[in-house]
Each structure stands twice: as structure tokens, then as C-alpha cells.
């Protein structure tokens, strides 16, 4: 688990940017949001962060385990005004799209089967390019059945 987090931290952003306030902003925000939604202790939280100019898109794939409720959340820095978050099926078609909640789009999803799903984020509004964003795929505690 620790190895994964370290590698994730290495990925995406050039080292030179570490310590810049915009990146710190999104890391803190995503951390707080993860804590707020209450992650399951059994499964890891998949996190991605990076930067995009206005109208640019980033996407990645992750595996969602069947019958596990997930909260997929995205945050962005102060200069970002609108972020669009989309969950894609293994075949690439849209499952859910969130574009209304401006800089904090969130999707809730429970996979019927374990498969590799796609997540796409679109930077719809950024006043000072590039804008930093962070995404977290948070497995939630199963509701008591």
C-alpha cells in the first residue's frame, strides 16, 4: 500500500512543482473530502492529480470491485471555476457525469461486477492556466444490509 502511494506521488507532476501552493491546495482539499466521505479501511483509495488548461481533458482507468459503493470526487485549485467528472464503463461509454457542482464534482457508484472503469475529468473553467486538480476514488463502508 505504501509503495503504491509513493509511486502515485511520483507520477504525473514534474518534481519542480512540488511545494507550489496550488498543488498543496488540491492535495489538502482532496484529503479533507476523502476524510469527510469516510473511506472503507479494506480497500485502497486511488488518487490522481495533475494540471490542465481550460477545455483540456485527462482520464485514467481504475478497477472498481463489485458490490462496493464508491465515491468518486474531484477537486481543483482556486483559479478553477468549473470541473466536469465522468465515469466510463469498461467499453468506454458514459455511466455517469457530474458537471453542475462547479469545483467539487462527486459521483456515487456501486459496480455490479469487478472491472476496469474509466474516469475522465474536463477542466471547463480555469482563470489562470494551468489549473491543478485531484481525483480520489474512495471505496465507502458498505451500508449495513
Amino acid at each position: 500500500m505504501r509503495i503504491i502511494l509513493v509511486l502515485l506521488a511520483v507520477s504525473g507532476i514534474p518534481r519542480v512543482l512540488i511545494g507550489q501552493r496550488w498543488e498543496r491546495q488540491v492535495q489538502e482539499r482532496v484529503q479533507r473530502t476523502i476524510a469527510a466521505v469516510g473511506p472503507s479501511p479494506r480497500l485502497p483509495v486511488v488518487r490522481r492529480s495533475g494540471m490542465l488548461n481550460t477545455d483540456e481533458t485527462a482520464s485514467f482507468q481504475t478497477t472498481l470491485v463489485q458490490h462496493t459503493p464508491y465515491a468518486i470526487i474531484a477537486v481543483c485549485d482556486d483559479d478553477c471555476s468549473r470541473l466536469q467528472l465522468t465515469l466510463l464503463s469498461p467499453s468506454g461509454s458514459d455511466i455517469a457525469k457530474e458537471r453542475n457542482s462547479e469545483s467539487l464534482p462527486t459521483l456515487h457508484f456501486t459496480a455490479a461486477t469487478t472491472a476496469v472503469y474509466g474516469i475522465r475529468v474536463v477542466m471547463e473553467g480555469c482563470r489562470w492556466n494551468p489549473c491543478w486538480y485531484a481525483i480520489a476514488v474512495v471505496p465507502l463502508r458498505k451500508p449495513p444490509s
Binding site: I3, I4, L7, V10, G12, L43, P44, T62, V65
Partner: protein
């Protein structure tokens, strides 16, 4: 399961980014390398093409040989041979024994119809001349375009031009005399009055350290130089206040401004004509091999080269140059014999016009 996938994802992501970068750079480097190879081949081809063009341009042309002069020209009414026979003695007297090397630098001329309406083929080699030049103009052309044998950049830089025969040696001396008398520089004035060290300074053949203050010795000269020659240059930006101070007779400001000029832009107090005349004097003193000695050691200081060319020490050479210049004091303005007749003629003409004017008959 999901841990393994996340691990794979995490590892593959930076790897793909770096791979993208490296492939882009590798592609560009490959492009640059292939361009470099193509350029090298193109250069070789271009050298061949140039030499072929040289042959093509001179094919069907006459080669006129007079003394060391070789003139490759297309058939035209121009009187090349006569012009060369006039030019050769003058060129030979300047370069002496080195003039025998001139066949290595042939003239290539293309005589063309001077009517600019006529379409001309593109010129790759040599120079174009209109085919209606008279003998005098053709001779002047040969004298002013001759390639000085083994002329090195150091000498060219000091002279400010190539060393070629002069058309009027006496006029050249007269010009330098006027320069010596009129140049707004105390150093030049002292040179005129016989201070050989100052002459070496203004001719730039001695020690070049701190030359500015030896060229422009008095604060007044430095101020005049800044405020007259470089006003526009210094009037803008951060130098403007210094210019103001210089205008208020602060010599430190004027000197600092002059020292801030880019290298080689500080104007010499004595124009290049003086240097050219000094070289001619050295060649005259040194005999037929003087020019060879002058160009023998391009890396040596100019003073030494002139001395070895002249075969005398540099001070004596400068003294000789100065005496030559003083001896060439231009004649005062004289009235040509016909001028008085012309004046009387015009007076008579206007007088008649005045007498016939209707105003007097009113």
C-alpha cells in the same frame, strides 16, 4: 487484485510520460542529425557547383593578360587591354614584387547592356559592368577592384578598407594635411606640430591602452564628442542623466559615456586616409619587396609590420609621413583664367535683360 492493478497503473504512468518526452526528443535529434548529414552533402555539392559555375561563367570569355593582371571578360566593346596597360604600372608600383601573385586573383567581369529595361541572366560569379564605359572609367574600375595579394583582416581592420592604388596621390596628401590642421583634437594638433608620439597615437600604431584619453586629451573635446556626435545615442534610457551631466561640463560623465560605447565605435580623431597614406609611405620607403614584408606576419602589431615593410623604425617612418604631408600643403584658391571672362559675360547678359525690361518703360 486491485492493489496489483493500481501498482501497474502507478508504475506505467510516469514511464509513459517520460517515454513520450524521450521519443519526441529522439525524433527531433534524429531530424537534426539527418539535416546535418544532408547539409554536409549539399555543401560538397555546392562547392562542386560553384567551381563548375566558375568554369561556365568564364567559358567563351577572353582572358586578357597584361603584366600580372588577368581579366576574364565576355566579348564587348570595352577597351580592356588598353585599360589594363594603363592600370598595370600603377598596381605594380604599389604591390611591387607581390604584384606577380595577382594571376591568382583574376578579375571576372560580365559586360552587359546598360539599359535597365533589358532582362539580364542571374549573376553567380564576378561582377557586372555596363558596356558603355570609356577608357578612363574602365581603367579606374581595374584600379579600384584589384584584389590586394595576401591582404589580411587585421590590416584591413586597421585601414578600414583594402589597400588599392590611389588615383591622385597628391590629392591624398593634401586631404591628410587638411585633416591634420582641422581635426578637433589636441592630439592631432600636437602631431601636426611635430610630436611623433601623438602621431602614433592618432594613427593607432602604438600602445592601445587608455587610447580614449590620448585621442581626446581635453575635457572640452570629450564633451564635444558626446554632445555632438552621440547625442541621440545617449539621450534615451538610463544614459540620459549622464548626458545631462556631461552637458553641464562634468568630465567624469562624458568620459564614462564614451567608455560605454560598444567596441570600435569610438571615432578616431584622424580619418582613415591618414593611415592609408602611412602605408603608402612605408611601401615607398621599403622598395619592391615592401608589400611582401608588410603582409608576411599578419599576427604582428601594425607598427612592427609597417616598420619591417619600410625597413626603418616606426618613428622615422611616421616622421617621414608627417614631412610628406606638410610638404603637400594645398594651394590657396586660384581663379582660372576663363573665370573673369565668364563673369563679364553674365554681367553683360543681365544688363541687357534689365535694359529691355518693361518696368523701365512704365
Amino acid at each position: 487484485m486491485s492493489r496489483v492493478l493500481a501498482l501497474v497503473l502507478a508504475v506505467s504512468l510516469p514511464a509513459s510520460l517520460l517515454h513520450g518526452q524521450d521519443s519526441l526528443m529522439a525524433g527531433l535529434r534524429r531530424q537534426a542529425d539527418s539535416l546535418l548529414t544532408t547539409w554536409r552533402e549539399a555543401e560538397l555539392l555546392a562547392d562542386v557547383a560553384d567551381s563548375l559555375e566558375q568554369v561556365r561563367a568564364t567559358a567563351g570569355s577572353d582572358t586578357i593578360a597584361v603584366g600580372g593582371l588577368r581579366i576574364i571578360v565576355n566579348p564587348s566593346p570595352l577597351q580592356w587591354r588598353d585599360a589594363a596597360e594603363r592600370a598595370w604600372p600603377v598596381i605594380d608600383s604599389l604591390y611591387g614584387s607581390a604584384a606577380q601573385d595577382l594571376p591568382r586573383y583574376p578579375y571576372i567581369f560580365r559586360a552587359v547592356d546598360p539599359d535597365s529595361g533589358v532582362r539580364r541572366t542571374v549573376l553567380h560569379v564576378g561582377a557586372e559592368v555596363p558596356w558603355d564605359l570609356d577608357l578612363r572609367a574602365t581603367t579606374t574600375l581595374l584600379l579600384t577592384t584589384v584584389t590586394p595579394p595576401s591582404f589580411d583582416p587585421a590590416l584591413a581592420n586597421w585601414l578600414g578598407s583594402a589597400l588599392r592604388p590611389t588615383l591622385r596621390p597628391q590629392d591624398e596628401r593634401g586631404v591628410v594635411f587638411v585633416l591634420l590642421v582641422t581635426a578637433p583634437s589636441e592630439a592631432v594638433r600636437r602631431c601636426f606640430l611635430g610630436d611623433i608620439a601623438r602621431c602614433k597615437d592618432v594613427l593607432q600604431i602604438g600602445d592601445s591602452t587608455g587610447l580614449l584619453t590620448r585621442w581626446y586629451m581635453t575635457p572640452a573635446e570629450r564633451e564635444a564628442l558626446v554632445t555632438e556626435a552621440f547625442t541621440d545615442y545617449f539621450a534615451r534610457g538610463a544614459t540620459a542623466p549622464s548626458l545631462q551631466r556631461c552637458r553641464q561640463h562634468h568630465d567624469d560623465a562624458c568620459t564614462a559615456l564614451l567608455q560605454s560605447l560598444p567596441p570600435g565605435t569610438q571615432p578616431r580623431p584622424l580619418a582613415q586616409a591618414a593611415g592609408i597614406l602611412l602605408v603608402r609611405e612605408a611601401l615607398r620607403a621599403g622598395g619592391r619587396d615592401a608589400y611582401r614584408r608588410l603582409v608576411a606576419r599578419p599576427s604582428a602589431p601594425i607598427g612592427e609590420r609597417l616598420a619591417s615593410a619600410a625597413g626603418i623604425d616606426v618613428d622615422s617612418l611616421v616622421a617621414r609621413w608627417r614631412n610628406g604631408v606638410l610638404a603637400a600643403r594645398p594651394k590657396p584658391l586660384t581663379l582660372p583664367w576663363w573665370a573673369s571672362f565668364v563673369a563679364i559675360g553674365w554681367t553683360a547678359f543681365f544688363g541687357l535683360c534689365a535694359l529691355r525690361s518693361s518696368r523701365w518703360r512704365l
